[in-house]
Amino acid sequence: MDGPGLYNYWIVMFLMLAGLYIVVASGNLIKKLVGLNVFQASVFLLYITMGKVDGGTAPIIAEGTTVYSNPLPHVLILTAIVVGVATTALGLALVVRINEAYGSIEEEELEEQEDPS
């Protein structure tokens, strides 16, 4: 069992699952969006952890260093961060409009207004 080399991944996965729990279990829409941001940041952490090389340095070519960390996860996560903020901005705009239309941002109150049975 190669446990000790994998502890970093397990800790980051715990953070991911905690973020997922916030998204699924919150009734408040803004808390859901904060949980989504937390979840996304933890996923980025997982990918960057996978790209790290022992004894390496930042992937900027300079004199005197030979070992660099893998630049490919950095590129993918850079894109993912910006897409994440785009999603958050649209989600927040929707929450603002929902609040103006229904007067509440709690899931349970919105369900009661939509379906009073």
């Binding site: 900027i60 850079l78 705009a93 603002v96």
Partner: protein, 145 residues
Amino acid sequence: MSHHFVIRIVAKLLIPFILLFGLYVQFHGDFGPGGGFQAGVIFASAFVLYALIYGVDKARQVLPDDVLRVGIALGVLLFGGTGVASMMLGANYLDYSPFAHDPAHGQHLGIFIVELGVGITVASVMATLFFLFAGRGDLDPSERE
């Protein structure tokens, strides 16, 4: 109200440096950490600071909505247009090799232009988002459709 005075003066001193730092990050993204996205966000945050201190209306006068709207589209156009330009010069779409006398410098020039496009769009979109969220509270409830 003296602490408001302090904040206004300090912000007025800081905003040019923030803009300069944003430009530095944009154009030195080739040699150190940086690039279009970071620079765009830093550039927009200078205008966010201005809007927080002096009010969204004054910020809208400094940075009119028309300029922002043009900026949002200009960056994407610059990026896509670079690809079309390289197609017209004979290479594949988004292959920057024919832009200069040898392929390596052509790539450098292409990367420079593309990052500039990214920076312009990101800065315009972030500023627009802030103005929309901050300006919504000033509207009458009857005006919000």
